[in-house]
């Protein structure tokens, strides 16, 4: 309660400063006058009485300052004074201010821009469940490069490995959606366990069923949240309805959550994937052969299995396949890469180096600025000496200089927004 009263009366004296000051003046003056009158009653002359009171009570101005500075709002007031003074000082030496602000702006701006990039690309978690367990699995061709897999190979990998909890494959798919204006979409054909592998659950409807993953069943699709909003006006009962794609009827199984962004895209234009259909391959189909390298495999490692262990096991599985089908395989093993590395490529290391470099740029800028300020401080020694002589305490001088430098820093940061954008 008294805290509130303290705050309100402090605010009052801040807002109605002149009145509060006048009252304090009148009160103190009255005090001194009354003290003097008391002495005059005892036969002292008016002049002598005043002098005596002054001797007893000390300097009137000092007393007033003591009373005023005892409150919290006096701190606000002096800070405000310091701020105005700092602005005047900076305006008085525009070259210095410009150099300092520019140095800071470039350093801070470059850092901010770089950090936003690193944060967006490297630090933000991937939109999958336990992304560190997700890996890409490739055939290793004889020259050591990574190669897509054929459907038959995938089936053998899936049935023979023990390292992966789930192993799924996908290939790109570009259907034309015939809802309203026909629109070509960026899509994927995926095995029915694809979303289970990623750890994503549909927001509406259901996941693909294993029995749907064969050539002669209903064709089912999954929609992205954006496509569902854009083309189907967020129809809550979309699940189970049929839609037209490439002049074929597809049944909508479900809609993925808005938080899910597909990072797998083979579209060179880099568009986001908005629709998924079941792969629906059969081993009898000609395009399901072992040499038909057009599918990308993605696996979720079992708990406790490392990438090295998984690679070793898959190498054994692959060696057995090469032995069994020597004509179809010329590869020498399997490559397992963490999904993060796959998505970012070799860029991550370079990004960190760049971030380090811009940090150093800021450090160099700060060192330069410190030198500038030191040089300036040397030329301001007289000013500080004068203030101290006039009664400024060490803390008061430090505060004034601190406010000035904070202002400089803030200006630099504000200007840093421009290069950062």
């Amino acid at each position: 309660m008294s805290l509130l009263r303290n705050a309100t009366s402090g605010l009052r004296s801040l807002l109605r400063k002149t009145q509060v000051d006048r009252e304090l003046n009148e009160e103190l003056n009255g005090f001194l006058e009354m003290a003097a009158e008391e002495k005059i009653k005892h036969g002292v002359s008016r002049e002598d009485a005043r002098r005596a009171v002054r001797l007893e009570q000390g300097n009137f101005e000092v007393t007033r300052e003591v009373v005023r500075s005892a409150t919290w709002e006096s701190l606000v007031e002096t800070c405000w004074q310091d701020l105005r003074f700092a602005i005047r000082m900076l305006r008085k030496s525009p070259e210095f201010t410009a150099v300092a602000v520019l140095t800071l702006a470039l350093g801070i701006g470059a850092n901010t821009a770089m950090f936003s990039l690193v944060n967006g690309v490297l630090l933000r978690p991937l939109p999958y469940l336990n992304p560190d367990r997700l890996t890409m699995v490739w055939e290793k061709s004889s020259d050591g490069s990574a190669e897509n897999v054929g459907y038959a190979t995938y089936l053998d990998w899936k049935s023979q490995n023990k390292s992966f909890e789930q192993l799924a494959i996908y290939s790109s798919w570009q259907p034309v959606l015939q809802v309203g204006e026909p629109e070509p979409l960026n899509g994927l054909r995926v095995t029915s366990n694809y979303f289970r592998t990623l750890g994503v659950h549909p927001e509406i409807g259901r996941d693909f069923l294993p029995e749907e993953d064969s050539p002669n069943t209903n064709k089912v699709v999954m929609l992205s949240h954006r496509l569902w909003q854009r083309k189907f006006s967020s129809d809550p009962n979309i699940s189970g309805k049929t839609i037209d794609l490439n002049a074929t009827q597809y049944i909508v199984a479900g809609v993925l959550p808005a938080s899910y962004q597909s990072l797998m895209s083979q579209d060179p234009r880099g568009g986001t994937v908005e629709i998924w259909r079941v792969l629906g391959y059969d081993i009898s189909q000609p395009w399901a052969c072992r040499t038909c390298h057009h599918l990308v495999a993605i696996g979720r490692l079992r708990d406790g299995v490392s990438i090295t262990q998984a690679t070793a096991e898959m190498d054994i599985v692959s060696a057995a396949l090469t032995k069994a089908y020597p004509k179809e395989y010329d590869d020498v093993g399997v490559i397992v890469t963490p999904i993060r590395d796959q998505l970012l490529g070799p860029a991550s290391g370079r990004l960190y180096i760049l971030l380090g470099a811009v940090c150093l740029v800021l450090l160099v800028g700060c060192a330069n600025l410190a030198n500038l300020l030191l040089a300036r401080a040397a030329s301001r020694q007289r000013e500080v000496a004068m203030r101290t002589a006039l009664g400024a305490t060490g803390g008061r001088v430090i505060r004034q200089l601190l406010v000035e430098n904070c202002l400089l820093g803030l200006l630099g940061a504000a200007a840093g927004l421009f290069p950062a954008c």
Binding site: M1, L28, E38, T63, V67, L75
Partner: protein, 121 residues
Amino acid sequence: MLLLTLRRKRHMVDKPSDLVQGTLDMLILKTLALEPMHGYGIAVRLEQMSHGVFRVNAGSLFVAFQRLQRAGLIKGEWKPTENSRRAKYYSLTEQGRRRLNSETREWGRQVAAIARILEAS
């Protein structure tokens, strides 16, 4: 923090050294318990009642008024004095009266305790 300690030091210099720290507020409350008074009146009354032992200067006195007012223990009102001058008269609030009672009790307890310790030989 530095500032706070600096400021506190300055106050201590202002306060008369013979006044036990923290008792000024209680003495002001006690003075006002009889009737509303202006600043000078309070100073004079304090000096008289203590037979000249306590001489409080205007600085500490007005800082104390400000503090007590903000704590809601006293309130000030501008009124004409007997010499047809305008002065701010301070008076106890209900809360101030309660605080005076409790502080007087506490003070008595402490003084008695200190006396017991000093008298023990």
